[in-house]
Structure formats: C-alpha cells, structure tokens
Symmetry: none
Subunit: 407 residues, 2 copies
C-alpha cells in the first residue's frame, strides 16, 4: 500500500491578477514539477466548507482531515493548546493566552508585554490555581504566548475573551455568551482566576526586575478563543493510518496534535516565507519510509503573501516550493495529494470562498487530461468539485481501505 | 462593491430538438450578447433542488435566492398572498383563491366565473368573516383571483383544497391531511367559512346583476395551495443587501415580497411573451444605480414556450432577450448572474430535472474557456455543477461579503 503525503499550501487559491496578465499567482508561476504531478494525477477543485463558504484555517483543515467542523470545532483554544502538547480531557475549556502589560487601572498598555521571549517563569506560578472546583492549567507557548486549560465539572466554552484585542482600553470582564448555568459559572470562575493571576503576576519578582530594566511587566494573562473539548477520535483510530504532522505554524502543529498525529520537529520549518520546504518534504519522506503511513505537511507562506496582497511574492514562493516538490515526482510508493485549505486572493488580502485546486497522484488514479496545476486548469479535472469532507474518503478509497457499505 | 443583477429566465433549460439540428432552443438561438457575457464570466450548470430533481417555479426560486424550500416552502398560498401585498403573520394559513360559479347543488360550472375581471366588490363583503376565533382575510388579485388568509391560533396548512380543479364536479369538502388536532380544526373552520362565503356571494346584488346580464355569478370562493407562514428572515437581514424584484408574473412578485424585497412596478412587464424586457433591465439598472444592491429580474415567457412545446418560439424569444441583454455588457459596476429556475423541455411540455446553465460575470471571477451560454457549453465551465442553495453563497463570496467560519 502506498504511503500518503498530504501537502496543504495555506491560502493557495487566488483570483485573476491584472498585473499577471489576468492569471492567478499559481497560474503565473513556473511550476514544472507541480504540473508534472498534475499530468500524472487526477485533479479537481475543492471548497473545504462547501461552495462559496469562507473558511478559517482551523475549520478548513479539520474538514480536509475528515473532521466535520460542525462537530469538532468549538473554538481555536482547544487546537492551539493541543499544539503545545497539553493533554486535553473531555469537558475541558481551552483558551489561547498572552502575557500582557496593564496599568493599575487595568488599561492594556501592551498585549505582548514587550514581546517577552519566555513566559515560563511566570506561568509556572499560575499553573494549578483553582477556584470552586475548577483548576487552571497553563503552559508556555512561543514568545509571549501560553496555553490555558480550565478543568472541572460543568464548564462551558460559551464565554467571551478578557483580551480586548487592542491597547488603551480596559481588560474585559469575561461574560457568558448564552443563558446556561454552565456559561455563567465558567465566566465567573474565569474572572476570579484571571484576577488572582494578575495579583500573582503583579508582585512577581521577575516583573520587578523588568520594571527596573525599563521593560513592560508581564502582569496580566490575556485569554481568547475559548473552545470546549470533547473526546476526538484520533486519525489512526479513524483511518488505521499512523500519521505525522510537519508544520512550522503553531495552529497546524495543533491541528496535528488535536487529531492525534505525531507532530514532528523539523529544523528550518518556520511557518514563514524563509521556511525550509525541502527539509519538510525530506522529513515527511523519511517518516513515510519508516513507521508512518500518512504525513500531513503544511506550508504557510502562500497565505501570508495573499494577506499582504503580494502577488509577486506569492508567485515566487510557489516557484520555490515547486523546486522542492521535484522530490515528490515518480514515487510509486506514494500517494501525493496537493491542495490548499482555502483561497487568499491578493486582491482581497483575506480568506475567500473561492475553490482551491487539488490533485491526487499515485497508483490507480484515473489520470485526466489536466497538465497544469492551477485554479482554472483543474476545473477540467476528473475529481470535479469536492468539499473538504470528501477528500479523506477519496484518499482512503485510492488506498483500497474504504469500508464496504452494504453487501 | 459591485451591484448584483440576478436574471432568471424561467424554464430556460431544454433538451436537444431534432428540428433544431439536435440543438436546444438556447443553443440554436443567436445570442451574441449572452455569449459575450459567458466569455467574460465563469459558467456552470445548476439544479435548483439537486441533480435530477424536478422543481416547481416556487421551490426552485426559493432555493436560488438562498431559502431552503424544505424549511420555507409549505405551499404556494403564502407566496401568492405575499405577492398581493398582504402582510402575513406567523401562524397564518394562506391560500390562493378564485371566484367561481357553482350550481345550487354546488357543482362547479366555471372555476373563474366567466373570467370575471374584478373580484373587489365581492371579496370586500367576505373580508373579516370569522368562526371559532379564526378570521378570514381576503384581498382581490388580478382577474378572478384573490388572496386568502386564515388567521387565528392553532391552525395547520395540512388541509386539502375545496377547489376540485375541474368543472362538472361538486365543490370538495376541505379535509385534514394529517391526524393532528390542528389540521382537523382548520379544515372544520375553513368549511364553515367557505359555506358562509357562499351564502353571502349567492345573494350578492352584483351577482343578481350578472345573472340578469347572462353572466355566470361569482358565487363561490375556490381555495387551493394552503401554506403555513413562519417568520421569514428578509433578504436584507440575511445578506445585508437591499434588494428589489422585477417581474411580470404574480408568483415572482410574490417570491420577491415573501423574501422581503421591494417589488418594483415596471410598465410593460407582463410575464408574457410580449413583455418589455428592455424596460425590466432598465428598471433594474436604475434601481441598482440608486439605493438597491441586488435586483432579481424574472422573465417568464421561456417557460411558457417550453410548456407549449414551441421550440421556435422559445428560440426567437431568447434571441429577443439577447438583444436587450446588450445593456448588461461591459459593466464593471455589476455582478451579472444569469440562469433559469429549471428546464422546461419543449419535448416534454413541462418542467424537468435537467440542469440549467448559469454564468456569473464581474470583477474577480475566474473567467473560464466557455464562450457560449448554453446547456452543453456550460458543462465545461469553472463553476462546475451547482445546486440552487450554492448560488447565493457564490454570489456573496464574489462580493467579498462571506462571513468567516472559524479563525
């Protein structure tokens, strides 16, 4: 059975750009290797959440990996926290955290406490705080970031952020977002715990040092994106494929961890335009040469160029990626699947609901007449127009692993 | 942001016609302007209610306008009554009415009372009749027609018509169509009110005049198509687009009113083959040049020619429409969407489940290689194959207004 490499180029899809002679960055880019893959494979278009729907990167990835976001997505917090290696339990409420700086009047001065580089010494004094049966678990993330879990009975993720998402305003009170007793309880507990955390951080000796050095103190735990964790069937339980995730960005590591994949560390995988794409492909091929059946490889920069409106940068980055993709050619041991999670048209500088090209290359696919990997060439492909939740069933079918429905 | 014109050519789709060298009326018609739009736009095929499904004009339009007929369609009555400008309240049962002629034994002699031209003087004596807490509201429609609302607690639209839909048979008793107490109650009340209405009409002085003049008396209120009204989110509430409807036919005005659009009066818009298409386009463009963001323009005659099996008439009418469509060319201020609600093949003389071509023309669309607007050319288009409920999300996405799902 071939091993699967699922390559997701974030925000890949685009709209025609006048300065590129009416082509999209992907169409305008010289991509001989992706085009060879398209020639050998079966192509199509996909909308992760359905035609015209505009997905976030979290919901679109869940759908593409086969996890219906309507069932599995309740907020970004659970995914980010999973990406930090925190073990979630059913009933947990998870939030994304920042250490920030507030005045005595709780006005936010800096949401990142001067881009503090390590929150470890601070958050260890907060880990384990509890109130009314709810315990706060916290772990440092990169830079000013931290993962937060509220653990206890009868919690709800329908609570607002304390993070006002801007400076110069007061810390928000956490409010329940529905009429349930659980949301009211969770909001009340969260407010208490965040106030207690502030009290501890305010008097933290390291903050006295920071102030003495003229640095903004890391004196408030800003929280956002509450998500509720229900037990998630792992990728291996679901598909009987041992899977790994290779990504630079925290969200995508989180998506791997959230679905029970092993998140591999790859030096040079930054989640930025300077990422070492070849190192990622190499790591994936090594993993697939070993114990793994399925490698989810994520590349972020296509999306970032789209959000910057930088169509030349997007085109160039795709060309650089194409060079690295040569290693994926002529590999009968692989089923290579390439797509994006959504479109990020340079003209819009944000996600859109335009469909994204997809191709599947490997033994047994019904090769079509498409010879270029692009938004419009792929409309002529044999896969037609898919939604995200159709992709894993297609992959599992090509692997010959689909369960028989009926007799 | 561009303004949207959604042009629906009723019953547009067709099947190959031997006498047209195996082309459909749309394919055989000379349509240089529609073809130019197709060349500049993105094309596809759509089935309003899904592949192979054979829709009514009411259900197909609801789906195309983004209102799932499974949730919003309970019967034609609500839509027709809305089109007469009657204000529906949640819980109302609405029916389409005719004034007809019956004998003393309640045998139907004429379902349209000699195509009586104005029911106003008659129905005003019925308006406000009530029984067991249910009030009958009635308003004249065009010709022999009237809109009927039953208003009161605990009503159901699961009742049969009193209209036997043929002459020479007795008026039908209204029967409950399910076992609920509400349906039984509504049927009982309706029978009482229709009998009472008959008593009033029978002795109406204008009917004594009609009989004296040798005209059939308008002595019975025939009712059909009971629909139950639940509050419908308006088009503007749903999409934040101020919308207007331009149509000749009552159903289509009703669909506009039902979805909360402003129904514009356009002189010459008849809903027939003699309709002034240019006047409709002109009115739409004027509305879009003013306060409106979205214009739904309906043209009926394509369907009527299909129902008559008149493929030459359908072809000619499409050619006439194409000439008027020149005004839609090269309008960067517009997103032009053209489709039909369903196919009405001349060979069948009725609606079918064959898909209908669709095109979207405007800023940002991924122009495909389709250069003719037709049933078969559009199979090669970039939109692929849509259902009705996918059309509004595509439009909203092209406008850049799709809400982000996830993060």
């Amino acid at each position: 059975m071939p091993k699967v490499i699922l390559l997701i180029l974030d925000g890949l899809g685009d709209r025609p750009v006048a300065e590129l002679s009416g082509l999209t960055p992907l169409e305008a880019a010289a991509t001989p290797n992706l085009d060879k893959l398209a020639t050998q494979g079966i192509c199509g278009l996909q909308n992760a959440l359905g035609v015209g729907q505009r997905p976030g990167s979290d919901t679109s990835h869940l759908a593409i990996l086969g996890y219906d976001p309507h069932l599995y997505y309740t907020g970004r917090g659970t995914i980010e926290v999973a990406g930090l290696g925190m073990r979630l339990e059913a009933g947990d409420v998870a939030l994304r955290g920042n250490l920030g700086t507030v005045t005595d009047d709780l006005l936010v001065v800096d949401r990142r406490a001067g881009r503090i580089s390590d929150t470890g010494p601070f958050v260890k004094d907060l880990d384990g705080l509890s109130f009314e049966g709810v315990t706060l678990h916290i772990k440092p993330g990169t830079g000013h970031r931290a993962g937060i879990i509220l653990r206890g009975p009868s919690l709800s993720s329908h609570i607002s952020d304390n993070d006002p998402h801007e400076v110069g305003v007061r810390i928000h009170e956490v409010k329940p977002l529905d009429d349930s007793a659980e949301a009211a309880f969770t909001a009340r507990v969260a407010n208490h715990l965040f106030t207690e955390a502030h009290r501890i951080l305010k008097h933290h000796p390291l903050n006295q040092e920071r102030v003495a050095q003229g640095k903004p103190p890391a004196n408030y735990l800003l929280a956002r994106g509450a998500g509720f964790y229900k037990k998630v069937e792992t990728f291996q339980e679901r598909y009987r494929l041992k899977a790994c995730a290779i990504a630079g960005g925290g969200l995508y590591k989180g998506l791997g961890a959230f679905t029970g994949m092993d998140v591999l560390k790859v030096p040079g995988a930054t989640g930025l335009a300077n990422t070492d794409i070849s190192a990622k492909f190499q790591a994936a091929l090594e993993a697939l040469g070993g114990a793994y059946d399925f490698a989810f490889v994520h590349v972020k920069a296509t999306d970032a160029f789209g959000e910057d409106g930088d169509f030349l940068g997007k085109k160039s980055f795709i060309e650089r990626l194409d060079q690295s993709a040569q290693i994926l050619l002529n590999r009968p041991d692989l089923l290579v699947v390439v797509t994006g999670d959504h479109s990020t048209p340079c003209a819009l500088k944000r996600h859109s609901g335009d469909p994204v090209p997809i191709m599947m290359v490997g033994e047994g696919v019904r090769t079509d007449q498409v010879t270029a990997f692009g938004e419009r060439s792929c409309t002529q492909g044999g896969l037609g127009r898919l939604t995200g939740l159709m992709i894993m069933p297609e992959i599992i079918n090509l692997l010959g692993l689909s369960p028989l429905i009926g007799n």
